[in-house]
Assembly symmetry: C2
Homo-oligomer: 403 residues x 2
């Protein structure tokens, strides 16, 4: 039976966490509890702090010399290992974290361990602010508690009651619609400038009776895409838009982390990759553009976003990085390069048109592939948004599907 | 009977919003629907787009000339008026918005209309990112849908099912714990540097059988504080920490908007105000400090936050602004000024100690008060964190309470 797992610092938040546990019990959903508090103490947890520390390779006494950050990180490591075992055993129906900034930090480590389809729930004041590291592309629910989660008062009781009800509702809703039917879903990545390509692909996929799942590749979307693919929730992946990699390597706004472009290879999911939107690094308002980008070609996308042209050298490095991250994939993998341009801006007469950059990308891929790599690299005499290019992408993942 | 209110652009999101409505009905929670779509059309809404536009003073035909932003804003205005009527009639048990960036924008206008205690729920990809404008200090729940909310697919169905379950759970949990018992709750505002003052106040309040509710004044907390006070959810307010005003006026990280310091006066809640932490403007990492602040005294609070000393001139302006915002309050109002310092850093020997600034603040208050103002301004020969100062704050709001 999968249950709610509550992870928190029972040492300093004993009262509110105790209220949460009690409330979940009263709703017939007794939780599994993990104490991530560095000070220990007996709080009746299923996984007390001593055990969490030991799982990370420490005794509680060895934590203080690590300093505050080190101790918190050690406990998160221990909790992550315990959670992974619970997940592997099918015991986790929802993850719930509640507390202050430590709870948010623990959540950002623990939530990615929980598969998509299993709710991840956080109540902390820090959900008001920059939440990308908390969401991390996952199916996350966040509650703002209004007050700090400290002690016991009626407002907090009301918020904790809500958190318990939400957790139980999500736990029970889980089975109603399976999150995916892997055998006929295909994951794609999109930007506005690659929209026509993805629209063509969608149409072709739907014609084949497949379900396209489109991820908006703005940092969070790329993480979601990788999670989906890594967890085998799709039959194949058409990774049309990899601009997050440019943001990661060259200091843009929307990197998706070092896991980007690794999921399909690791999980043996057939994939076709196109260098969509690698002509651009996404940066903030024009006025805030760092000195090093000012002399480059750039386009003000709106008041908040400025797109800066990548150089041929950067494109070579992008290609090489793609090849390195693909590694030795366990299923058919193609990199299709549209030689007439990689985005709506990189098109004949467009602001970012530069065929030399596309060629540099292709050469970068070639240089990064090991000898006898199973990855096929194909230069195509099309623009990325040509229908023929979309047909090639779909064909590249089609024949290998078991249907 | 209070019900779930669903507001959304039924023109462009007819499929997913239709699924949500259907799901809520199947859970015995048929929603009230408000169509904020600018293109109109018959979607069976209780408040169709035509009616929403008319409530804002337009016909649908008059919207296109306003431009996209103008049209969206007009619809939000209309929806806000309708929602306010529903709230006043006691018809709103929860607000639910779902969609893209328009849904998020509408939510940020609509959620503040819904009283604290009534859940406000948003599902949109934009909950991954900067959420302060979405949360706005309210008791908000946010779901990240993984995919864009477009069309109909199984992942999205699963996420919409979750949203419906969460909405119903929150609707039904609402009555379980009332959000407040106004007659014996007192709202306070805190920073780390005013923590001792608030701790003293809490102890004194608890001794009197009162329940202290402490808000962390980091922009969002100040908004929550103002909402609580404005909605009459507390017996009195002790506003110890008003540094958000410095951030608002002088370009700091955590402003709480122009509503700060207005709630108690508007709602005739007795209040005591202290200039806690007005010695500091909160800014980002040291390396990012704007030129104009570099020559000032500053303290690196941590890697992410640098505190910059406010000047006597700025303190005068802060005092004047406080007086202006208090206006002519409808209940006893005191401004108590701790002449020996306003924070842990502004203390004899401390990095920000500067009695001239405190005096400038007091003079600013005096200069901003109208003749015969009922606001009492009291200079006290104490530091803000002295126990005697906390006693004076509690005494200032105590005698007027009806008990």
């Amino acid at each position: 039976m999968s249950r709610v797992v509550v992870a928190g610092t029972f040492d300093t938040k004993a009262e509110p966490l105790g209220l949460l546990v009690e409330k979940l019990r009263s709703l017939d959903a007794p939780p599994v509890t993990i104490d991530t508090g560095v000070f220990g103490g007996d709080h009746g947890c299923d996984h007390p702090a001593e055990a969490v520390a030991e799982t990370a390779g420490y005794s509680l006494e060895e934590l203080p010399p690590l300093g505050r950050a080190g101790a918190v990180s050690a406990m998160a490591t221990g909790a992550a290992r315990i959670l992974r075992q619970l997940v592997d055993g099918g015991a986790v129906g929802a993850l719930v974290c509640m507390g202050g900034s430590n709870a948010a930090a623990a959540f950002s480590v623990l939530a990615p361990i929980v598969p998509i389809g299993v709710p991840k729930i956080l109540m902390a004041t820090s959900v008001a602010g920059e939440t990308r590291a908390l969401v991390h592309g996952g199916d996350v629910t966040m509650l703002y508690p209004i007050l700090d989660i400290e002690g016991d008062n009626r407002i907090l009781r009301s918020m904790i009651s809500r958190l318990a009800h939400v957790s139980v509702a999500l736990l029970r809703a889980g089975g109603e619609h399976p999150v995916s039917a892997p055998e006929d879903s295909v994951a794609l990545t999109m930007y506005g400038v690659t929209n026509p390509c993805v629209a063509h692909c969608r149409e072709l996929l739907v014609d084949r009776g497949l379900e396209p799942l489109v991820f908006h590749a703005n940092g969070t979307g790329g993480r979601s895409f990788e999670s989906f693919v890594r967890q085998g929730l799709v039959a194949s992946a058409i990774d049309v838009t990899i601009s997050e990699l440019a943001d990661e390597l060259f200091g843009g706004l929307w990197p998706a982390g070092s896991g980007r472009l690794t999921g399909a290879s690791l999980s043996a999911v057939p994939q076709a990759i196109a260098p969509g939107a690698i002509d651009m690094i996404c940066l903030g308002p024009l006025a805030s553009l760092p000195e090093r980008f000012r002399s480059r070609r750039h386009v003000a996308h709106n008041d908040l976003v400025t797109l800066v042209r990548t150089t041929p050298e950067e494109n070579h490095r992008l290609g090489r990085t793609v090849a390195e991250r693909l590694g030795t994939p366990g299923a058919a993998t193609s990199v299709l390069v549209p030689m007439k341009g990689v985005s709506q801006l990189d098109i004949e007469g467009g602001a970012f048109h530069d065929p030399g950059s596309v060629e540099a990308f292709a050469e970068g891929v070639a240089s990064g592939l090991p000898p006898h790599s199973p990855v096929s690299l194909v230069r195509m005499d099309h623009h990325i948004n040509d229908r023929e290019f979309a047909e090639a992408l779909v064909a590249a993942v089609d024949p290998v599907r078991a249907r």
